[in-house]
């Protein structure tokens, strides 16, 4: 009988992935709702994680015909201790199963939710569902349009112009030595024998002729080893490496003046995080520049950006000036996609707002792919007015007001609606 042991370990992991997809698809509404809740309620640092999704049991139940409680039935159980025939036992509560534990678990009518873990990717998939940045078509379509050729050693296959002569000849020498060595050794031995025979006494003509014939054969064999064989040829190998042009830099501008309290900062934080997460979907490399400002602007690291407290007045334009400086110095638009995200409570020194608008319109927006402004307060001040006027003119500029965490998600949907679906 033919028997075999097959190693299947490398084949087909995740065979159930199709089934899992179908499961997610079936419950996409609940999942979407859960993700929305998660985005509203979560701490920022935990944003890029999976999420436990709860689905009520009844929604995933697969009904079948089954027996219910009641009627008469006889069950056999093991492990009788002191019952005798005719004993009467009080009916156990919560089920007439006569102590039958299986009954209770089989029915699966429990109210517990079915809980499962949505992976980070799936979470993000749902989160970013049908979002795409405007004006992005060019960059997205040509995700890796540029190639750079690199040398990558040698290969045995290539075009003649890449032939590497030295390498090829070196290989040929080695091959000739290796292939001819036996024959040459034999030849040497025969030649010695020939000399011996020639110098020996007596009639050796027959033996000499024999050896000479053998020598001739060997010489011919050595002569037939090709000088250069196709297998010797080596070519310079060049590989085309895609150059990711999809690099983006995201400028986070935040007002840290006294009027920005913790709650407002928190809203701003979420706004930045969401934009960042969104960019990670589209760009291989993302730089983030944090600029905080009160009356003066300053480039800081993330920790200081979110967690240090400052007080003082507010001059928004200082941040815009700094942003432009940094962008011009470090992020040429030929290589970088520049995104700006600004959060503020709308408070500004009133003579400054007009200047902000000019800066944005003339200097910054031409550099940027997109600039989003979020005002984390309700009241409209002069900065809001100036920006509203600007946003009406420019497609790459959007402004929104946000007053609580649950509003951020819808804001994003509006900010980055798919092209064509009215911005």
């Amino acid at each position: 009988m033919f028997q075999q042991i097959i190693d299947r370990r490398l084949a087909g992991k995740n065979k159930s992935i199709g089934n899992r997809e179908r499961f997610l698809r079936r419950h996409k509404d609940q999942i979407r709702e859960a993700v929305k809740r998660a985005v509203d309620g979560r701490g920022i640092r935990d944003m890029a994680q999976g999420e436990d999704i709860h689905i009520p049991r009844r929604d995933i139940a697969e009904p079948i015909f089954g027996h219910g409680q009641g009627g008469k039935r006889e069950m056999v159980h093991p492990g009788n201790q002191d019952y005798v025939r005719g004993d009467r036992i009080e009916r156990p509560k919560g089920g007439g199963g006569g102590g039958g534990g299986s009954q209770a678990s089989d029915s699966g009518e429990g109210d517990d939710d079915f809980v499962f873990h949505l992976s980070k990717e799936e979470f993000m998939q749902v989160f970013f569902d049908d979002l795409a940045l405007p004006n992005l078509a060019r960059t997205t379509l040509a995700e890796t349009p540029e190639f750079k050729t690199h040398r990558a050693g040698y290969s045995s296959d290539g075009t003649p112009n890449n032939l590497h002569v030295v390498r090829s000849m070196r290989g040929a020498i080695g091959r000739r030595i290796a292939l001819g060595s036996d024959a040459r050794r034999e030849l040497l031995a025969l030649e010695e024998r020939l000399i011996e025979l020639q110098t020996a006494a007596g009639d050796q003509t027959e033996a000499i002729a024999e050896v000479e014939a053998a020598i001739a054969v060997l010489r011919a064999r050595i002569g037939r080893i090709p000088y250069l064989d196709p297998i010797d040829l080596r070519y310079r190998s060049r590989v085309r490496v895609p150059v990711p042009t999809a690099k983006a830099v995201m400028f986070c501008l935040m007002d840290v003046s006294g009027s920005m309290d913790e709650a407002r900062k928190d809203l701003a934080k979420r706004f930045f995080i969401l934009l960042y997460l969104f960019l990670t979907r589209h760009y291989e490399r993302i730089d983030i520049v944090f600029i905080r400002h009160h009356t003066q602007a300053q480039e800081v690291d993330e920790q200081n950006f979110f967690h240090s407290t400052e007080t003082g007045g507010t001059v928004v334009s200082s941040a815009l000036v700094l942003m432009e400086e940094i962008a011009r110095a470090r992020y040429p638009t030929s290589e970088w996609n520049i995104y700006g995200a600004q959060a503020s409570d709308g408070d500004n020194w009133h003579h400054d707002s007009g200047r902000c608008r000019e800066l944005l319109a003339n200097n910054i927006l031409p550099l940027c792919r997109y600039f989003a402004y979020v005002q984390v307060a309700e009241e409209e001040q002069n900065l809001w007015d100036e920006y509203s006027a600007l946003s009406a003119e420019s497609k790459a500029f959007a402004i929104r007001k946000v007053t609580e965490a649950s509003q951020i998600y819808p804001v994003f949907r509006e900010l980055f609606k798919k092209e064509g679906a009215a911005a």
Partner: protein, 526 residues
């Protein structure tokens, strides 16, 4: 009669007699027993197990052992143990909950999965130690395998050689339908079919054996023919009025109640399209394939457990196994056959491994060392050749009849079995019988009954179709000991209505023939 397979020949399948077996000389040294397995070692152990199994005349399909990872084991769990299956969200649900429980350590995975196919595929998990692999090979590749090949239910209902091919076909067909008719349509259809899966089997009629090629060739004809039949039945040409009236009272459809709901729907549902009929058929076929497994849990697991126990012990006696390896598999073995007592934590009914293993062991004991009691209860087998008797028991029974036939008083005492009657008319439960002289028969009967699928699952049949009126379908539930249906029935009926295309009623009828409860679902919106 020429179509009868050769191995039905009684001469060929005569069991080997234990008396004929001569033990081989003792091995010089045992097989190496490191904790890590290697392909070479598995090969050597397998050879030895195979030789031992052949010595006892175990008749099996050829074996195919496959090494898989834990993830793959979970994949296999999710698709009801089959290596390939059509896609459905419920399998995804199964996978997710298995994975979750496994990751949190709530459950260990089974050591093995074995597929009733030819060749018989056994999965060995990569995490298993060498000792466990040996156990799994003896258990699955020889125990279960010989059961699949020998038991009459499997011989009758499943075709081991074509199941994998059929599932591949089913998977492709369903995928094809998804493409042509949309994921939602197929999903809804499969949901409805799954709801009726347990009622999609022929319980008594034996199916014809068909190869996959035949199935495929027949499919086209069937689609055309079935549609014609259905059209014919639902012909709405106006008949002569007086004749119609006469006919409707005379003709009843179906003429006799039908137990196989899916079959009835496949053949008669008026609005199903040909592809939908084919999907119904696929679900029905798969249900039918698993039907014997549901009826032979105790026998099948018991048989495999008995044989891994017997084979490995014999190998030990022959000097092939080390003490350490024995301890290792015996530990798993005792876990598997542990039977908690009623009231213990973790008690969830009778453990089929424990009961089955104990019964086969007990039969062997009755053959070898019968007591007077055994001679009285089992005059035919007491003192007979144990191998022949066991073989006979494995081949010709299902759980219900196996217990009814072979459960001995000795075993009832050992398990301390007792029966409890739960009657809703009484305020208390009553102990109807225990393991004593007056109770043996009653306990045995009750336990046997407990394994009767007919009493475990509600008996629901197609009762009537209103051919001339609203085309509604009436199902009838015949109550068993007045046990009602649970509340899920209404939901299931919605699925029936979706398949049937018109309104559906369900009547629950008690022992006296009175309808005690009715459910009704209107026709689904078109």
């Amino acid at each position: 009669m020429s179509a009868v397979p050769v191995d039905f020949d009684p001469m060929l399948r005569r069991a080997m007699r234990a008396a004929d077996i001569r033990p081989p000389p003792r091995a010089a040294e045992p097989l190496p027993a490191p904790s890590d397995w290697s392909f070479e070692l598995i090969e050597r152990y397998h050879e030895r197990i195979k030789a031992t199994a052949e010595r006892f005349g175990l008749d099996t399909y050829p074996n195919q052992l496959e090494i898989i990872t834990a993830e793959q084991m979970m994949d296999a769990y999710a698709s009801v143990g089959m290596p390939v299956n059509y896609r459905h969200w419920s399998y995804g649900k199964e996978f997710i909950s298995t994975e979750k429980n496994y990751r949190r350590g709530h459950m260990g995975l089974a050591y093995e999965i074995v597929i009733n196919s030819n060749p018989c595929i056994s999965y060995l998990m990569e995490e298993n130690t060498m000792g466990m692999q040996a156990l799994v090979i003896a258990h699955a590749a020889y125990g279960h395998n010989s059961f699949f090949k020998g038991n009459y239910l499997f011989r009758m209902w499943t075709d081991a050689s074509s199941i994998i091919d059929y599932l591949v076909y089913a998977k492709n067909y369903v995928a094809d339908c998804e493409e042509r008719h949309g994921l939602d349509a197929v999903e809804a259809l499969l949901d409805s079919c799954h709801a009726l899966m347990n009622h999609g089997v022929d319980r008594y009629r034996r199916p014809s054996r068909k190869s996959l090629a035949q199935e495929l060739a027949d499919r086209k004809d069937r689609e055309a023919y079935a549609q014609r039949q259905v059209n014919d039945m639902w012909r709405t040409l106006p008949a002569k009025p007086e004749k119609a009236a006469e006919e409707s009272s005379a003709r009843r459809f179906p003429e006799e109640p039908q137990e196989n709901l899916l079959y009835f729907i496949e053949k008669n549902a008026p609005l199903l399209e040909p592809w939908q009929r084919e999907v119904v058929r696929i679900v029905r076929k798969v249900a039918q394939y698993f039907y014997p497994q549901r009826q032979t849990q105790v026998m099948n697991e018991g048989w495999a457990t008995f044989w891994h126990h017997h084979l490995l012990n014999t190998m030990y006696d022959d000097g092939h196994l080390t003490d350490g390896l024995m301890i290792e598999w015996l530990k798993s073995h005792t876990n598997v056959v542990y039977q908690p007592r009623v009231g213990d934590r973790g008690y969830s009914g009778i453990n089929p491994y424990a009961l089955g293993f104990a019964m086969y062991t007990d039969i062997k004991r009755i053959c070898q060392n019968p007591t007077d009691e055994d001679r009285h209860w089992f005059p035919n087998i007491a003192g007979s050749d144990w191998l022949e008797t066991l073989d006979h028991a494995m081949r010709n029974f299902k759980d219900e009849s196996f217990i009814g036939q072979y459960l001995s008083p000795n075993l009832m005492r050992e398990f301390r079995l007792f029966a409890i009657v739960d009657d809703e008319k009484q305020s208390e439960l009553e102990v109807s019988a225990i393991h004593d002289e007056q109770g043996y028969r009653r306990v045995r009967e009750a336990l046997s009954h407990q394994y009767d699928l007919g009493s475990r699952e509600p008996n629901i049949q197609v009762w009537n179709v209103n051919l001339r009126g609203d085309r509604s379908l009436t199902l009838r539930h015949s109550q068993h000991d007045d046990r009602p249906l649970h509340d899920g029935a209404q939901e299931v009926l919605k699925h029936v209505a979706r398949l049937w295309g018109f309104g559906v009623q369900l009547e629950s009828v008690n022992g006296a023939g009175d309808v005690t409860k009715r459910w009704s679902v209107p026709a689904p919106p078109p």
